[in-house]
Point group: C2
Chain length 286, copies 2
Amino acid sequence: MRELNQMTITDATKESFSNRTNERFAFLIDKLIEHLHDYAREVNLTHAEWMTALNFLYDCGKISTPERHEFILLSDVLGLSALVDMINTQGGGTPGSNLGPFYLDNAPKFALGKHLADGREGVVILVNGQVRNTMGQPIKGAVIDTWQADGEGMYPIQDPRQDKWDLRGIFQTDDQGRYYYTTVLPKSYTVPYDGPVGKLLTAADRHAWRTKHLHFILRAPGMRAITTEVFFKGDEYLDSDAVFGVRKSLIAEAKRVPKDANLEFDLEHRPDARVDFDFVLSPARA
Amino acid sequence: MRELNQMTITDATKESFSNRTNERFAFLIDKLIEHLHDYAREVNLTHAEWMTALNFLYDCGKISTPERHEFILLSDVLGLSALVDMINTQGGGTPGSNLGPFYLDNAPKFALGKHLADGREGVVILVNGQVRNTMGQPIKGAVIDTWQADGEGMYPIQDPRQDKWDLRGIFQTDDQGRYYYTTVLPKSYTVPYDGPVGKLLTAADRHAWRTKHLHFILRAPGMRAITTEVFFKGDEYLDSDAVFGVRKSLIAEAKRVPKDANLEFDLEHRPDARVDFDFVLSPARA
């Protein structure tokens, strides 16, 4: 028989995954085994550390529910989610950013100009811009799916007394590729830190704050869909967002709207400030 | 603010774990982030693959219980557990091997010569040998904690109708450093494959069989404790053990004992075969 040692075990493990019919699966597994083993060798992993890591994953599993995916949060704080967003951002288009845990499929559809935050406290902002392709041409009928935290940093879905569909909406761009609606300025909030990932952040002296943001998914026929976020200039957590979601090109500014200013949009609610942000979609891969 | 991209995000993530007072923790986290990010970049991880991996971990958490740690099993089939055993095996001593999920603390203590398998079907084996230090000197009073599957490949702890303390025992070596007891020859068994790890093995066309083995933990004052296994020459799964536990130096042979052979030990039960295996313990680190 073959003798296994610290070096040969890596090839032996790779070979044990003998199904080579799915090349991509084989490649993903091979590289996973290589990196996992390289890591253990490089740090000289002790039994106690190995057990701590496995029990950490066990605890992540324990606290997870269909509404709370602690492994996504772990991926977020380890910068992996952001890296996957970056890897899959197509050149020329608006960069992708975290989906986060609060997305709901099938949000209500609204006409442009809708106010998404009826009766809510906060600074009312006009969110508007144009959706274009990478040639600079406006995209008519692009679908904009948005969701956000309220002026207190809470998503309605987190509060059983609120309607989970609040502060969400799906819009379509007009003939000039424009979108516009009003809502309240969201507030920063912390990612859940009452679980194992929170303990990890605490041990590492890391805060759990997300810089304030609006979530968006954009879709248009023939174009690559993007999941992204828009951030706000001047926020204190821009440079230390707990999930590494920020890119420079995703930062917008909330500019005060003078009381007597003429606005070029037909709006349900007069805004206190306006946020201008254009999206660029790249073509879908053949 | 600093712009994050596919390369700079790795340093940014490392820096976010700002607690540098525990150097070992900082090193383990830094290397984890490096390997995790290198992996994602190297394989160009897609969102769908990333989500599949996170949901796989979620499912491992769901099926785990205090009696079933699916993450240990995952570590086992990925060769990580064996690698950690190898990394932590001290030169000159008997190699370590998998602890497995069936160990119980505080097994009953027996005098040498005890039969551990009263009333059980199977080939009765005499298990015996000497415990020595790396200078070749016998260690008197070394503690040998053993547990094993029965002749059907089942651990009593897996069967609610059986006594979980069956097929376990703690012995101490005699003045010559010798240990000896009888039991039944264990049978091969499969690791649990009704969960996510089983699905992974199935997808990879891998069997789930463990080659048959006896488990041991050895302890002696001033010596490094070892957790290891003894395997059996000729077993069909020696070269494809599902958890990569086998080392050449851990393979023993069950040799038939002639009916009229004189045995040098005082035994409760006459054996059909004998397994001779010596253990070597290295000094504990200062």
